[in-house]
């Protein structure tokens, strides 16, 4: 019974983390048809910047409190906006309209460049920013102690997910966005500024990616290569759910979270690839993912 409760809670926490680190990826794809490999770099940059900021602040004020969370948030927004603009204006703008796989390669190129840029800025050593993780003490669930920060990820991510959903379906810009997703050319002909929607969407996705990294900073040791590992994991989550679907990303995160936690509990040696097994099975049965729409073609 306790094991079951532990699996459920662990899965939820892990799924929340997966959702926050991959939602930006699916959002950008859904609107722009861009599968952004550089999402991994945004995650890593967010984590580095947040860890660096927290480290700097704690160095001067050892009992810093909730202000650490503000630092993390600011780090994510700064990274997301700066790097997002750089990628969208500097690179993507020149490849819009080309084959979607060419666009993937372009973002892969950006990813490669940013890998080295991060090494040049932050060096090879690891950054640790555990302090925010202990702001909320520990909470006991079914007799098992959990770190409050981890548990808080669940409602936070639920809030972000619902927020995105509401922004798309319940606001005027969101409805215009749906028009853009549905048919760029017609939207453009109706006077919607598609280029601006692209920029804004990409910035939102980039900020979410960096936020995922910033929120992860207290959970991990921030070292070179975290973006490399993250991006394939995020791919798995969004592909399982169906590229471009927010609900899909949530389901994908839950499935992967459950699968990985079960593996950790019962067969730890499977942990590394259970994610990709789920991804393979889903893609084999439903090539567009669980919530993806099959492309129909008029002939």
């Amino acid at each position: 019974m306790m094991a079951l409760a532990a699996i459920v809670v662990d899965s939820l926490v892990y799924a929340s983390w997966l959702f926050i680190v991959s939602i930006g990826l699916t959002l950008i794809f859904g609107v722009m048809n861009v599968l952004n490999v550089a999402h991994g770099s945004l995650y890593a940059l967010g984590a580095y910047t947040a860890a660096w900021g927290v480290g700097m602040y704690v160095g001067g004020a050892p009992d810093a409190g909730y202000v650490l969370l503000a630092i993390m948030l600011v780090a994510a927004i700064v990274v997301g906006v700066l790097v997002g603009i750089l990628i969208e204006r500097g690179v993507l703008r020149w490849v819009y309209g080309r084959d979607e796989i060419v666009i993937v390669l372009a973002t892969y190129a950006v990813f490669l460049v940013l890998e080295d840029v991060m090494k040049l800025i932050f060096g090879p050593e690891s950054y640790i920013a555990f302090q925010p993780r202990f702001l909320f003490g520990t909470v006991s669930v079914a007799g098992i102690p959990y770190v409050g920060y981890d548990l808080l990820l669940v409602p936070l991510v639920a809030l972000i997910g619902v927020g995105i959903w509401a922004a798309i379906h319940r606001t005027r810009p969101g409805k215009l966005l749906i028009a853009v997703i549905h048919d760029r050319e017609i939207a453009s002909a109706l006077g919607i500024n598609v280029a601006r929607f692209f920029t804004v969407t990409f910035l939102c996705g980039a900020i979410l990616g960096a936020l995922g990294g910033a929120l992860s900073a207290p959970l991990i040791s921030v070292v070179p290569g975290i973006g490399v590992e993250l991006i394939v994991l995020a791919f798995a989550v969004v592909v399982i759910g169906g590229l471009g679907s927010v609900e899909g990303a949530a389901i994908g995160a839950l499935l992967v979270g459950l699968g990985r936690t079960a593996a950790v509990f019962f067969r730890p040696e499977l942990e590394l690839f259970v994610v990709f097994v789920v991804m393979t099975v889903v893609l084999a049965v439903r090539p567009e993912g669980l919530f993806g729409k099959p492309q129909t073609r008029r002939i």
Binding site: E100, V102, L112, V113, D116, A236, L243
Partner: protein, 320 residues
């Protein structure tokens, strides 16, 4: 863009290049011979990707078959005591061919991003298995002995790269490149253009697009496996990270795009450039190696969509 007419058999060119490499052997310093041999190995993998690219497909998991080839050879050497490079190569190709045949039933219906992602998932599963299998050295991998050919064993003073191994790699690469050249000029190769340009029309011409993709997938897998065998024999060691991890697959895609899909020579040229630049970059600017790759890839995508080979076409003045 590759048009139909610039696929033409370059039998003489391939034979000439192979003869030149063999003739140069006494003059080549050890590092150059090693670079040439390693480039042929990697070039074979990129050649397989080039076939897929001509079908309009990009695999982000070709490391899967590279690893299968490398591990099959290494395992046959370590556990069965086989040292003959010919047998090891056949083992690698057979293993990859069988697995690609089976997986092909799943991937042949996928296109675009989904094809790329599915292959990525396959390769990451293999990476996970290899990294967790203690008997295979987990993440450290294991070593491979010095290979022989038809009973000819190198003397103890010879290094890993003997003339026998070098000659074997050069001649088999040339043979394989010649075969691929023929295939691209045959209905199979043109069916690939059909899949890329308009699959629906191809189906209405009575050609099974899925069957053609399946065939190309198996071919690309066998090429990657042979490249894996060569690489492992040259390096003498095999690890999951250097074969199956997605970053390795990304490198192969980089090389295939850099070379372009215009000619079977392109992937080999691109792989050689890649190896040379890496050698110097890791020596002088190790922290900027990936940046160099990324910037090059961007430049190729933006300004040279046909890859390095399109420069050759341009020089010949037939890129109208």
């Amino acid at each position: 863009m590759t048009t139909l007419r610039n696929i033409r058999p370059t039998t003489a060119g391939i034979a000439l290049a192979a003869a030149a490499l063999l003739g140069l052997w006494p003059l080549l310093p050890a590092w150059a011979a090693h670079t040439a041999a390693v480039s042929l190995g990697g070039g074979l993998v990129a050649l397989g990707l080039m076939i897929l690219i001509r079908f309009g497909l990009v695999s982000f998991g070709q490391g899967l078959f590279f690893a299968i080839g490398g591990y099959a050879a290494a395992l046959a050497n370590q556990f069965l005591g086989i040292t003959d490079m010919l047998v090891l190569s056949v083992a690698g190709i057979a293993a990859a061919g069988t697995i690609a045949w089976a997986l092909g039933y799943i991937v042949r219906g996928h296109r675009g991003i989904f094809f790329a992602m599915l292959n990525l998932a396959f390769s990451m599963i293999l990476f996970g298995i290899l990294a967790k299998t203690v008997a295979l050295g987990s993440t450290d991998g294991f070593s491979v002995g010095v290979p022989t050919l038809l009973g000819v064993a190198p003397g103890p003073e010879a290094g890993r790269l003997t003339f026998v191994l070098f000659g074997f790699i050069v001649i088999s690469s040339a043979l394989v490149a010649w075969m691929v050249d023929r295939i691209l000029a045959s209905p199979v190769g043109y069916a690939g253009q059909g899949v890329r340009e308009n699959e629906l029309r191809l189906r209405y011409l009575g050609v099974s697009a899925r069957g053609a993709v399946h065939l190309a997938y198996i071919m690309a897998a066998k090429l990657a496996a042979l490249g894996g065998v060569f690489t492992v024999l040259l390096i003498g060691h095999v690890t999951p990270e250097d074969t199956a991890y997605w970053t390795k697959s990304g490198e192969f895609v980089f090389v295939a795009i850099l070379g372009g899909a215009g000619n079977v020579a392109a992937p080999f040229i691109a792989q050689t450039v890649f190896e040379l630049v890496r050698t110097f970059a890791l020596q002088y600017v190790p922290e900027a190696w990936q940046m160099l790759l990324g910037i090059t890839l961007l430049l190729v995508i933006l300004f040279l969509p046909g890859g390095l080979w399109s420069l050759v076409d341009r020089l010949r003045g037939r890129n109208a």
